[in-house]
């Protein structure tokens, strides 16, 4: 793929918490339309990597460019860059004081100056897409975990982002609700959304990923296609990791 298609480019990124290397010399490009799944044991730096992309964490060394713009450059408008990247969290983080519909419309109305009526129309269409339109008027506390996460996905989509970042979107869910959230993500992938997904759902990785990234102790140890990962894993720590979770 050509350089012009790179939407995210991470170059030699390192992040330290004290002496702990949360990220160490990580380089990764994500291309438009690509689906990258990041796997690895707990504490290996997956969340830190994802959160560095929209600067919820700031890296200590290296560079990250989004859409050709260095996110750490002085004068870079991080809020504008974040508008292009939707993020879905493990713990949903819906706004509890707003209805489902308001959760979706707040940012578009405020940041994109979309008229309320139009924003609500778009929001309803998104809620329909994630299969939860009948809940538009309720508050998040009245939703199940799976419903909350689907609303959270719709909320991120309401900003029409160019890329979606998912940080273990199903890890906080009861098993019977994982499927409904993964279904939404698969649909999104099929529509061509660019996605970076941290997950332990290997079925999802196998089905959706263009490339899988394996991280351990802050480093990327292996990158490859699903076939490569599941048929011919190379790094001993990846083999060990796969044997533990499969």
């Amino acid at each position: 793929m050509s350089a012009a298609e790179k939407i995210i480019s991470i170059h030699n990124a390192s992040k330290f918490f004290g002496s702990l290397k949360a990220l160490y010399n990580v380089s990764l490009d994500i291309h438009t339309g690509e689906k990258v799944v990041i796997i690895g044991p707990s504490g290996s730096g997956k969340s830190t990597l994802l959160r560095s992309i929209n600067r919820l964490e700031t890296i200590d060394q290296g560079t990250i460019t989004v859409d050709g713009k260095n996110i750490d450059a002085p004068g870079s408008d991080i809020n504008a860059l974040r508008m292009e990247m939707g993020m879905v969290f493990q713990s949903f983080n819906l706004f509890p004081h707003k209805t489902v519909l308001e959760n979706l419309t707040m940012a578009p109305i405020k940041l994109k100056k979309i008229p309320r009526g139009q924003a609500e129309e778009q929001a309803m269409a998104l809620l329909k897409k994630v299969g939860i339109e009948e809940k538009s008027g309720v508050y998040p506390v009245q939703l199940s975990g799976g419903q909350k996460q689907r609303v959270a996905i719709a909320r991120a989509l309401a900003m029409s982002p160019k890329i979606m970042l998912f940080d273990e979107p199903t890890s906080a869910l009861d098993p019977e609700m994982i499927g409904e959230v993964l279904d939404v993500m698969v649909t999104l992938a099929k529509e061509g959304m660019t996605m970076a997904v941290v997950t332990h759902e290997m079925g999802f990785a196998r089905e959706v990923a263009d490339r899988i990234v394996f991280m351990d102790q802050g480093e990327i140890l292996e990158i490859g296609t699903p076939e490569h990962f599941f048929e011919r894993p190379e790094h001993p720590r990846l083999k060990k990791f796969l044997s533990q979770i499969l």
Binding site: N79, L94, L111
Partner: protein
Amino acid sequence: MNSRATSPTFVRFLVAHYRDFLLYGLLLGAVAWFIASGEQGTGYHWKWYRMPRYLIQFTEDGWVLGPLLQGLIVTFKISGLSLILAMIFGLTTAIFRLSDSFTARLVAKGYVEFIRNTPLLTQIFFIYYVIGPVFGLDAFGSAVLALSLFEGAYASEIFRAGIVSIHKGQWEAAYSLGLSRQDTYRRVIIPQALRRILPPLAGVGVTLIKDSSLASTIAIYELTQRGNIVSSDTFMVFEVWFTVAAIYLAITFPLSLLVAEMGKRMRTAD
């Protein structure tokens, strides 16, 4: 709920608490005896019948508020204005204390520590006699400024506690959508924090009404000052101060109950 549904519970309540009611009756009796014996001992003659005119009076112009109720209106004005300003000072200070700027944190901390470690009365005098003349503040303005700075410092601690109680995932969700820090405060953090801290904030209002009585020391004709004047004009010391205290109580006690009720509801809502 209708009375038929409540009355059996009320009877049960009476039965369960009869000892409390007995004690309460005894206590009231003791207070009455104390006051009555005071009257005999000092030769004090109650003149309650003369009190109403100091509250409200009928003249040829119709009903006219007496000095005490006029004072109460001033008390409301001072407390109300101070409450609004105190909320502004409090919220601003809380946001300063949580900001990334060292200077903002230092200013906020200095303000709060200064206010909390000097007496309110001193602050009132300081503002009235030192700051007031410089900025052309009259007594009323000085009182409002002093009270709102004082309560603002306490309110800032309440705001701060409310803000830090909001889970950091809320910040991250707002930021990830592209909201600025200011928008995140305004649309996500403060609305949630406000719900949690409404009871203690309402408590600030109660304190303000009581503390506004200190404005009497800089010749403001609020309730306490009016009471002072009426009692020295008429020598009805007992009647006047009982009445003044009752007026304060009539306003602050329901407010306090409301605060307690809100607090209970917040806890069950969480």
